[in-house]
Amino acid sequence: MSWLTDAFSGTFAQRALLEAVMVGVVSGVIGVHVLLRRLPFFTLAMGHATFPGVVLAALLGVNLLLGAGVFGILVVLAVALLGARERIDDTSAIGVVLAGAFALGVLLLSAQAGFSKDLSAYLVGSIVTVQPADLLITAITGVVVLGALAALHKELVLGAFDPDGLAALGYPAVALDVVLLLLIELVVVTSVPAVGTILSVALIAAPAATARLWTDRLGPTMALSGALGAASGVIGLVVSRNLNIAAGATIVLVAAALFAVSLVLAPRRGMLGWRLLAGASRGGEVARAHQGYGG
């Protein structure tokens, strides 16, 4: 194992870079599934909801990831139970759970000393102080998540587009949904301590949405999304070091900038590409039909 830990030691800057690349790739790839199933709000809630788990684990002196993971599972259960109630739609269920869990975390933390410092580290992360052990955990998580996504690719995609078809073919549809949610949770839980709750959602949603603007096919979307996530991490770290500003937030802004540029420039789906197509088809019927088909 020593060669593995050796690879992950090195200077602060090298470790931060490695962490940013690994988190970027894994978040980017799983982000495609998150967008396919319209789960960004759920992912955001999961990030916020790990907070009381982290605080509790710190109070009890157990592993932070364990606390975050347990609370993540509780959140999945709470949202599922509340959303099943006839009078509560899923979005409202997520909203209530997010707000409640986050307030609980703030409440627990406010009873401690050093309130504001811990809190901001949690919200925006501190990627520059990432430890070799953190890197190892991120690497293992990455391998597990990417491996599971590759092995279950066909089933997960079918479940996203045609859940009834998946069940009709005899696949355990509910179990597959749970597996995907757990994989998302794994990514969020391992990335939040290093990059913060806000950034973890940004790295999941932005690269995938950007990749989706450039290609319609799923495989290339995932590859591009992972590459964009890693690129956002590297560029963001370099910029933040040069300007001396918060690293996590800078990475988010790079990912968002890539999205904004693609929104304008991407062929067919971008604003400019859309205009050209609309102009070529006099009145834009084709463009509108294309949008309907794609969206």
């Binding site: 209530v96 307030a103 809190l119 932005a206 949405a209 800078t250």
Partner: protein
């Protein structure tokens, strides 16, 4: 009981804090009804984050934080309405990106400051006990504007919520109505930013109306309960956090305590809801105008709730 519920509010700063949370609670409860009916919890959450950079920029420039929040709120409501109506990207993806990038701008700007972490938590969670009369006045003005708009456009907004195609067919500008609602949500955040901060506002906007929805069917009753709950949660939360900090030496953030009280009310309603509806069925009335649950008076028709039986 009176020691817990009345005594804390004999100090001037606690009276101002109480007035602020009551106004904000009613305001958020009223706007929240539309947020829940339209399933806009994610939009609401996004708007609470996008106001943040405005607050930071105003702080850095030495301008009024209120104005900064207002400018950011209007800009982000416009952007959000535009982005979510485009079909190039799914609305939830664009919401997530807008939310995180606006928030990141705020964090980047704060991170240049020396008092970074203290400032950050102040903006995010507010300082309710530091509310002065000027802040209170701003909150009251914003509340008056939002509530007036809600009353004036009530029918149109409801029609849009339940039957967007019908609203469009009747000649209403649906996109304009969406923009109005988004601006109203953003204004609630602006009104609340100094007192409870940007992050916990979402709880005030979502939890009371969802709770009310569990108890009644009619929109008017839902609005009344939602507003009352918002105010009640603010009152109880403030009293509890004051009592515990002063008497027991446990320091609890008042904003978070308010939210936890609201969530507790939600859980009570979750347990009481089915029983209450069964009761209404037995009594034979409409399931909407029913008996109160958990000792709460006046759950039914659109009268303003004059008192909350919480003593």
């Amino acid at each position: 009981m009176s020691r817990l519920l009345i005594e804390p509010f004999q100090v001037a700063f606690m009276q101002r804090a109480l007035l602020a949370v009551l106004v904000i609670g009613v305001l958020a409860g009223a706007v929240g009804v539309f947020v829940v009916l339209r399933r806009l919890a994610f939009v609401g959450d996004a708007l609470t984050h996008t106001v943040f950079p405005g607050v930071v920029i105003a702080f850095l420039l030495g301008q009024s934080i209120f104005l900064g929040a207002l400018a950011a709120a209007l800009l982000s409501a416009l952007l959000l309405t535009g982005l979510t109506s485009t079909r190039r990207v799914t609305p939830d993806a664009s919401l997530a990106i807008l939310l995180t990038s606006f928030f990141a701008v705020g964090v980047v700007l704060v991170s240049r400051e020396r008092s970074y972490t203290a400032d950050l938590s102040g903006f995010l969670f507010g300082r309710i006990l530091a509310v002065d009369w000027a802040v209170l006045l701003q909150t009251l003005v914003v509340a008056a504007i939002v509530l007036t708009t809600l009353v004036a456009l009530r029918k149109e907004l409801l029609l849009r919520a339940f039957d967007p195609d019908g609203a469009a067919a009747m000649g209403y500008r649906v996109d304009l109505l969406d923009l109005v609602l988004n601006v109203l949500i953003a204004l609630v955040v602006v009104a609340a930013v100094k007192a409870v901060g940007t992050v916990l506002v979402i709880a005030l906007v979502i939890v009371p109306p969802v709770t009310a929805r569990l108890l009644v069917d009619r929109v008017a009753g839902m609005t009344a309960i939602s507003c009352a709950l918002g105010a009640l949660g603010g009152y109880l939360g403030l009293a509890v956090s004051y009592e515990l900090s002063l008497q027991r030496g446990v320091r609890l953030a008042s904003g978070a305590t308010i939210v936890v009280v609201l969530v507790a009310c939600f859980l009570v309603a979750l347990a009481a809801g089915p029983g209450r509806r069964a009761l209404a069925r037995v009594v034979g009335g409409r399931p909407a105008a029913g008996n109160p649950a958990g000792g709460r008076p006046a759950a039914g028709p659109p009268t303003t709730p004059s008192s909350e039986g919480a003593g």
